[in-house]
Every structure is written in structure tokens, then in C-alpha cells.
């Protein structure tokens, strides 16, 4: 595996999730695999969970992990055949090639602008970085996907149910700030690939990009969508069509105990951080069916499964 950026980079999401669960049982069993290997994590955007869990994953495998905040002071140029006489001090060609000299695996996080839809959806920062890197690259969240989160989510679902095809509902919820679509896009493609019974629910105007949604049912009636659900996966996103806009902050979309009661004793999932009593009511988050902390825990083992595959095939 030379890159991990989308579910299409692997052929067996269920098997990878199983590998993560096996690692969770014995996290240090492969402590020799990363011996004398270095992973460099580049954060063009802030990170807490992803940073800690990916570092931990590397450490568990015996790697040295170097994290760098690249946000400030590393203005990169992505365009070719350009005269670099403005504020961009380094070209992605050199940047990616150079970091590859110091790393056996590179992780990179970058967020969308939420202003230029076409550019964001070309995922150009991640794509161009990979183009010029000479070592395997892991997306630590890109403009349009968050595959390590989605793998951890799949691991969590697998861990919690014996059903081969549980009903999983991705529900939009309100939020005061404009957020990326990355987590939602990614969740959809992983649930599709794992053949879950996925349903999407959101207010009109919040339709996600068609190539992600495909034939997954979209229901505008949240209560109807929740009926019989085994898992409610909640996430806010800003509008894709009116790109980056907040169209709706309707508190009726907040996940409440009443709504959870419509489900099949459904579990509540969220990637965190979460706005309490905006996205989800205290009663749901603090209730016995909340999986949010276990999702965070599983981030380590999801990352570890991915890194282990990369190390084994180097």
C-alpha cells in the first residue's frame, strides 16, 4: 500500500477493520515492525485526536514519529511553471521530495478552503504531495475525506454488532460554524464499501457530492430515517451546493434522546469534537449508547492497521 487516502486505496475494508481489532487486543505485539523506521506527520491544519492517535500507532509499532506544525511559516506553491516571487517560499515539488528523505511514511493533514469548491474537490494539496513524495503517504484528513476516521468508525461498528448489515444512518446536525464535508463524504464511501445498510438524512440544500452519495438513500425526514437504525452517525457539514454556506441552524435537527428512541436501541456515533446541545443533547452523549469515546480510542488501532500494512510491504 503506497497511499491511504480513500477507501478505494484498499480492496478489503472489512478485513482491514478486523486487523485493527486484532491489534487492539495486543497493541504492542508488532513492536518490532517499525524498528528503525520514521514517520513524519505534517499538520497544515490543527489536530488533536488524529495527531495523538497516529503518533501512538507509530510508537506501538516501534517507529520514531516526528510531528510538525506546518501551518505557519511554510507557504507552499502548488502551481507549475510559475515565477515564485510572492509569498510562497517553497514549491510542493521540493517540499514533498525533501520530507520523503527523512521519512519512511508521511502523514499529512490539510483542510478545504470552503470557498473554492472545484479546487477543494480536486484535493490538490494531498494529491500533489503524493505526486512528488517518494514514500507512502497517509491522509490525516484532506479537503474532502478523512479515511482514518472512517476506518475507526467501521472498526467501532464491527466491534459493537454481530449483524453483517446493520442499519447505519448518517445524520446532519446543526453547528454554528461552517465545517468541511470530509468526514461525511468519507463515512459514506466506507459504509458503502463495507456494504452496510446506509441511509443519509439532512435538510434540503445539504446534498453531498453525487459521486460520494451514489445510490445511497437520502431522506429529508430525520425521524423517518432513524426508524430501526442500529447506529446514528452524526455530523454537521456546510452546504456542498451553495459551497461552504450555512443554510440552516434548525435545532430540530439536534440529536435528542427522543429521536434516539425511534431507533432500534441505536448507538450514537460522532467523530468529535462535538458541540453539546447543538449537535447532540447531553442525554445522548452521556448515555449508555454513546460510542464517541470508543471511536476515539479506535483511531489508534485503525491507524496502526494502516501503518502496519505499509511497513510490511516496504
Amino acid at each position: 500500500m503506497t497511499q491511504f487516502t480513500a477507501v478505494s486505496d484498499i480492496t478489503d475494508p472489512i478485513k482491514l477493520a478486523d486487523e485493527a481489532l486484532a491489534i487492539k487486543a495486543y497493541p504492542h505485539a508488532q513492536g518490532q515492525l517499525g524498528q528503525n523506521k520514521t514517520m513524519v506527520l505534517l499538520f497544515f491544519n490543527p489536530s488533536l485526536r488524529t495527531r495523538l492517535s497516529t503518533q501512538k500507532a507509530g510508537i506501538n509499532l516501534g517507529m520514531s514519529v516526528i510531528s510538525m506544525n506546518a501551518a505557519q511559516g511554510w507557504q507552499l506553491e502548488f502551481e507549475d511553471r510559475i515565477i515564485m516571487n510572492t509569498d510562497k517560499a517553497e514549491h510542493i515539488r521540493e517540499a514533498a521530495a525533501v520530507v520523503s528523505q527523512y521519512a519512511d511514511i508521511i502523514g499529512i493533514r490539510t483542510f478545504p478552503s470552503l470557498t473554492d469548491k472545484e479546487k477543494d474537490y480536486s484535493d490538490f494539496i494531498l494529491k500533489r504531495f503524493i505526486e512528488f513524495a517518494s514514500v507512502p503517504v497517509i491522509s490525516l484528513e484532506s479537503a474532502i475525506r478523512h479515511p482514518l476516521q472512517s476506518l475507526a468508525d467501521l472498526v467501532t461498528i464491527k466491534e459493537q454488532t454481530a449483524k453483517a448489515r446493520p442499519k447505519v444512518v448518517l445524520s446532519w446536525a446543526p453547528h454554528p460554524r461552517a465545517l468541511p464535508q470530509a468526514v461525511s463524504n468519507s463515512f459514506i464511501e466506507w459504509m458503502q464499501a463495507a456494504d452496510m445498510d446506509l441511509v443519509i438524512t439532512h435538510p434540503e440544500g445539504y446534498e453531498l457530492e453525487g459521486s460520494f452519495v451514489k445510490d445511497t438513500p437520502v431522506i429529508y425526514d430525520q425521524s423517518k430515517a432513524f426508524e430501526g437504525a442500529d447506529f446514528i452517525y452524526t455530523k454537521n457539514w456546510s452546504s456542498y451546493q451553495q459551497y461552504g454556506q450555512i443554510l440552516n441552524q434548525d435545532a430540530n435537527w439536534t440529536i435528542t434522546p427522543e429521536k434516539m428512541a425511534l431507533t432500534n436501541n441505536g448507538k450514537f456515533m460522532h467523530c468529535l469534537p462535538v458541540r453539546r446541545n447543538v449537535v447532540v443533547a447531553d442525554g445522548v452523549l452521556d448515555g449508555p449508547n454513546s460510542l464517541v469515546i470508543e471511536q476515539a480510542n479506535n483511531r489508534t488501532f485503525a491507524a496502526q492497521a494502516v501503518i502496519a500494512r505499509m511497513l510490511r510491504h516496504q
Copy 2:
């Protein structure tokens, strides 16, 4: 030991200091104790000595240590039953629980506001973090205490004297900025617990909080306080009563060679950083009786003694 936040978290300060001195003799003797364990250090406020010494302590014990500056970009909500629709992106409940997934021990540093006395003295950031963390927590300085510093100070005093009950003077000194009372509060409670002959001296108006001072003698005449002292521990703090205010910048309170001459060949101590010729004269700091660098050195072994106890009892 599930937390190290105050002297009251242990029963045997002298024994803990002795453990630190034993570690100082052979810092790598317990290099297996932290095998496969991770310590996460969260800095809500800047740190140099604490960061380096605590990282070093963890490394000496064979741990992996991950440090994170949480200052920017991690606005936490501490209040319960609140609608999180402002600038706080995550609740302390999730934050503490999530970091606990990636750490065997968490260190956390946080400073007081110096504007809201009641809130600062409730030490709410540290307390709420511990409430929701599922692993042992070490204070790397909180709003009102700095226990790792105080333990290092006790280690330094023990190392320097054969007396069971040396005379130790905590002396206020001037400073151009308003500083917390944390180091002083903490020093007092550790000296009391270790049964040192402690005396406090400061200008009127700088009385520290009563539950820290207890029956320790407070003398407003600095020269009188210094008579016969074995150790002069100097620290500026802003007023507790006129909370956070600078009432006095009187250079007569600066520690000078002349004042040190009043002591029993007393040693000079300060937690650093220190303003030269404001808090203390060059002649004292550069003289043979200055212990400030050794105090900094002992920070490593103090932290290591605390972490070792936590690791042994997990």
C-alpha cells in the same frame, strides 16, 4: 497514585524526595518501568523547564512522551448543561476522556486568569480534567499550585543540608509583571508537610491565601526574617487580596549579597526564570550559594519519582 496535584496527594513527601535522589544517582536504572507506556503532556500555557524535565523524566523511564501545545485552537467548555454555540469547540468531558485513550499518564499545565479569584482558586481546569480523565494526571502547574517544582525544591534542600529542620525563608521580591501565586502556595504546603522551619516574608498587602499559610510565621521585615536562614527561597507573586494586582515594586525587597549576609551562610533558591537585578542581584545569582541551576536539574528527578510511582501502581 492516581493524581499528583498537591502535597495532599501523597503521605510521605520526605520519602518521595529520597526516591528522587536515588533516581538522580542512577537515572536510567528503571528504564524498563515505562516500556510500552505513553505520557501525553498538554500545555494550555507555555513551558520550558517543566516541559523539558518532564519529557526527560518519562524518557528515562522508557516511556514514549507526546507533548502538545493546546494553547491555540483548543477552546474548551467547562460548564455543564450549556448550549455550545459560541467559540468553545469541545467540552472538557470529551477532551479529558479522549486524551485518556492515548495516554497511560497525562500531564497538564494551566495558568490562572489573575482576574477571577474565586474561579482561579477553584482550580477548575485541572479539577474538571481529572474528573473526566480515566488515567492518572500530573499537574505541570495549575492556577494555584506547582507541585513538581515544590518537590524538586524539597529534593534540593534535602540534598544540600544534613539538618532535619533547616530554617527556610520564602521571600517575596519585586517584579514588573503580575505573576501567579502558584509556586509560593505550593512551596509553603510542601515545606509544612516536610516539617521545615518555614518563615514567610513579604510587604503588607501580599498575604497569601489563608489555607496555604496556616500557622506559618509571616514577617513583614525582610531583614529580620533572613536572620539565621539556611535557605532563602525567593519568588514574586501578585496580590491575593487585591487579586492579581501589583501593589509594590520596591527595589528594597530585591535579594542582594548584603541581605544574604544576614543569613546562616544561606543558600539562594528560585524556580526560574528570574529577572536579574529586579528579583535578585547578579552577585547572589552568580555566587557560590546559588542553587537555581541545581533546582532546575532536580526537576527531572522529582518528575521521575512521581511518574515511577504512578507506573508501579498501575
Copy 3:
């Protein structure tokens, strides 16, 4: 070796470069040398390559490496006998002594002001730090030199040619920002010490400091300088004489394929980051004779050779 700040700190640059090449062949062969040793890297200025490569070098030797951004929040006082009642919270005397308590080797990076020539060229930050440090110090670039870069450059030249005395041209090139002279100064003194056939070319007004240049030929005609060159080492610097000023942005000084054609099939070198089509044309940078990525790679082994010497002689 107690310091590595200039070529004058060693007696055998060629031998040190050979040691780096031997390390490059087996980077982990000395993985026990740094056992239980800690290197602290202090960055008073931003760093990418230097940070990653020096961390990697330490890790390859089995050290623990702690990197700290000291840029913000650590205002140091360098003057003696001063009343520290302004914005400087700590004196270099304590700062250097304290960090020495936690480190077996310290690396420090600091940039020039480009406004105060005399102060910059006294290299006071690095010099005073070393004065008060009690462990070996490595310059990670100072106001006037970048010795780890120069050693990596020498390693790269040695690796690429069998000639004992290749013709090496240091060529100024335009840049939109005022840059330090450190890389150029340092390159000159290392090439002189390694007895390369060095020629310097730059526009009039860009003369470098005389004690660096010595009797190295300076040619104002770039094309003439390039004739027969085996290596073109390109770097912008701001004026030394009109200190810190940009006197010239003449695109005729940009390194182009046409100019490279004047050389003896010369290799192109640059320390990176580089402004494409300002400093150097795409055609040169992307051509087969560009060594820039290998220079970056050799940073690791250069640093490792230096650190290994320090570790062996402790």
C-alpha cells in the same frame, strides 16, 4: 568536539564528510551510541529540513530528541549587569545552563536581524549560549553560518565526483526577500578548508565579508565564472556592505539551462527552499544534474557524523 559552529571547530572536513558517507551506507549501525542520551533542539527561528534531518540523525544514533520552538514566549536577555525590568523574562546565563541540565547535546538555531551588522556578525546569541551551556552545542544555523548545511554540501560534492579539486562556483541569484549571508559564508569556508577550486560570482555590491572570502576569486561576470564548473552552488543573499538591503533583482542572474550549458556538465546545488524561476529555472531544477534533493538527504548523515563524534568523545 564540544561545539560545532564553524569549519574551524574541526581539523579534518574531508574526513568528517567521509564519516558521513560511511554512515549513509549503514545509518543504523551506531544505534547504541546514543543510548540514554538526550538531544534538545531549540528553534529561535523556523526550521523544516534542519529540524527533520537533525532529529532523524539523533534517532538513528539511538538518542531521544526533544525539539522546542523557542521563538514565542522566550524573550532572552543577553546583556550583563542589566536591570531586567522590561520584556525579557530570562537571562541567557540561566537559559543555557538550565537547558544543559536536560540535554547531553544542544542544537540551537537563530537568524540574524539583518539590521545591526556588527551585532549579527558577533554571532552573540550562539556565542553567549555556548558560553553558559555545560554540554556540547551544535549550530543549526546561526546569524552568520550554517555549518551542518555546508558539511552536507561537502558530502554531496564528494559523493558526486572523483576529482580531488573540482571547480565549484558559488553564484548569487535574485530573490524577492532579504536573506541572510549565513549559508554563503559557511559554504565558502568549508570549500576553502576542503581545498576545492572555489569561485564566487555576484553582482557588484554583494561582496561578502572579507574574512570569509579571503583570497577566493570573485568574478562579477556570472557567465565567465560558470565556464568549466563542475558544481554550481546557488544562493541569494542580501548585501553585506549595505547591510541587509536588496540591491538587485536582476533576472539575468537566474540560473537557467543556458547558463548551465556553459559549465563542464556541472551539477546544480541549492540548500532549499528555492524560488522557482526566480533563483533557478524549472529546467535546471527538474533536470538530471540537479542535486538539491540529495543535498537534503545528506543533511541527515552530516548531522549524524557530527553528533556521533560528540557522543564518542563525551
